[in-house]
Symmetry: C2
Subunit: 345 residues, 2 copies
């Protein structure tokens, strides 16, 4: 429950409190089932089917006005990216998709043509992830929302809680581009080609890194998908694994796509900030032993004894403490820095 | 997709059109998976896990202002009944629950106390159905909605499309009581005990008939859960199975709980109307051979050659044609009769 809770409006309690409450309330209901390997708190639930098969199961909601804005996204983009966001949780567990359900809440006046466009975006994402949409639910409501539920399988799921002291910190995929793309759209900058188009596409049409997640299996110790920015998501591994994560700035900078530097210059922000606080890239962040690092994974830091996330600007220098993350339910920064770096979405 | 679409507001297209559109759009995405036994169109999707196990998978959404109204339901009731509504789809397939995901969209200002109450209702329903809640998603939005996704298993799922000529029509559980309960609340009638309390409880705290559904397996040919009233749900079996369903009024009247007659008299409506158009009882409607009828199933009609649903008031009399059902997306009656019988919810 509750990996991703976003809001512009302050609420009377935070994501952390809400997840704790739900985990506690639902814990008793979990006692009755003997087949649950992983319950609330990771990227997805893990169920043990009879036999040796593990089922990995996740949901993700996209709500109009909270997660997306039709000014910058076509309904096909909204369908596509909502599906990829859910599938990204399977990727983060190292699972192979089996199938998905699509749950749509449609506002009054939503037309058949609009439903066609939305669902074509979902279907395109389903094909690209080889994850057929086999059912779901359709309902009326005051605002458009898409809740995608995805089921996958794997033999050894990658949890957030399994990072080990001495591990390297690995990044698979690009970070920062999606946020740069959103900023380009917000500022009405032309983006029909080149690095700008690449950034906009990264935000509009993200791809769940299914194959890459699968290749982390048996190699990485811990993993999650970077949905909320490197800083906050690294903190989730640190907290779940009870370790300290050090992000090494020079290594992180070397991992950046060349388009990120150009976009950062255009936007007048630092590429580092876009990467640390940007979010919605759906890259994978993992930890593992040096000898096991797959080709696609770039080393960007290390796992140490301690807690929290530190940024090492130069080797041997005192670490810059990164904030405890961004609480989407209250929309209040706990670190101070994120509030500036992260515009509401 | 789209078993249950309810609305007060006319939309520009209907449920039938929407389901057809989605089934067509998602059909291509289904080609990539080889493990789908049943896709869009039944109570739940059926997946084939490696080995002989069939997975049954369903979602159901409850949206404030569309499916529920806090004037007549506590948040614990809302949590409880939204969970049971989703589990009822597993019951209708004859499946045994494995686990569920809870996807909540919370409006601004929704408090921790309110979340506690809502989730305790869900947890109580999870215990009563032996279906642990193992995860989900939490998000902000403009209105409260609960989307429950449930996974189950079975060996031979009960489809809507398998009714055979000569089958009996079976009812398991009570119909009409829930709608009577809702009317009692709407009219502010006292309901602290007796038949009124029974009706109100039937609406506030419905039970998915999991064990009964399971016992239909291997006996019934077709089944679904009565979420929208006997008339409309019988029409779904008739259409999917390409048969005609005859509801025999004397047999149906004999199946009624004694409380239904008393509530109908109090409300000044006919018990028959409450049963045919009431909905939200989550009884099971099935068809099967006479010799196979389980103890809990009451015979209320038969399956014949033809199409649609007829009501036989007396044996041998000309049938009264029941309407084609109620389209929740456009909120327009196709039969004429439902519009009067069904108040908006």
């Amino acid at each position: 429950v509750a990996k991703r809770v976003r809001s512009q409006k302050p609420a009377s309690f935070g994501e952390r409190e809400a997840v704790t409450l739900l985990a506690r309330t639902f814990a008793r209901s979990q006692r009755v089932g003997a087949e649950i390997d992983v319950g609330i708190g990771d990227d997805a639930a893990v169920l043990r089917a009879r036999g040796s098969q593990l089922l990995v199961w996740t949901s993700d909601a996209c709500v109009e006005g909270v997660h997306f804005d039709r000014r910058w996204l076509g309904l096909d983009d909204i369908g596509f990216r909502s599906f990829q966001a859910a599938l990204s949780d399977l990727a983060a567990m190292g699972a192979e998709p089996i199938a998905a359900l699509s749950n749509l809440i449609l506002p009054a006046g939503f037309s058949e043509k609009e439903l066609g466009r939305l669902s074509r975006g979902q279907a395109a994402a389903a094909r690209s992830t080889r994850c057929p949409i086999v059912g779901g639910n359709l309902s009326r409501g005051g605002e458009l929302s898409i809740t995608t539920t995805a089921l996958g399988r794997c033999t050894a799921p990658l949890l957030r809680s399994s990072a080990r002291l001495g591990d390297e910190l690995w990044l698979v995929g690009d970070v920062g581009l999606a946020r740069a793309g959103l900023e380009i759209l917000r500022r009405n900058l032309p983006a029909s080609s080149g690095y700008r188009a690449r950034c906009v596409a990264a935000w509009r049409r993200p791809r769940a890194l299914i194959a890459q997640g699968s290749r982390l299996c048996g190699k990485a110790h811990a993993a999650l998908d970077v949905s909320d920015g490197l800083s906050g998501d690294a903190a989730r591994i640190a907290e779940a694994s009870r370790v300290r994560i050090v992000i090494e700035e020079p290594a992180l900078l070397r991992s950046f796509a060349p388009e990120l530097g150009r976009a950062a210059a255009l936007l007048g922000v630092s590429a580092l900030e876009l990467a640390l606080y940007g979010g919605e890239d759906y890259a994978l962040l993992a930890t593992g032993a040096r000898a096991q690092r797959p080709r696609a994974a770039k080393r960007i830091g290390r796992v140490e004894r301690g807690r929290g996330v530190g940024l090492e600007r130069l080797p041997g220098e005192k670490l810059h403490e990164l904030g405890a993350g961004f609480d989407h339910l209250t929309a209040q920064s706990r670190g101070g820095r994120e509030a500036r770096a992260r515009a509401p979405r």
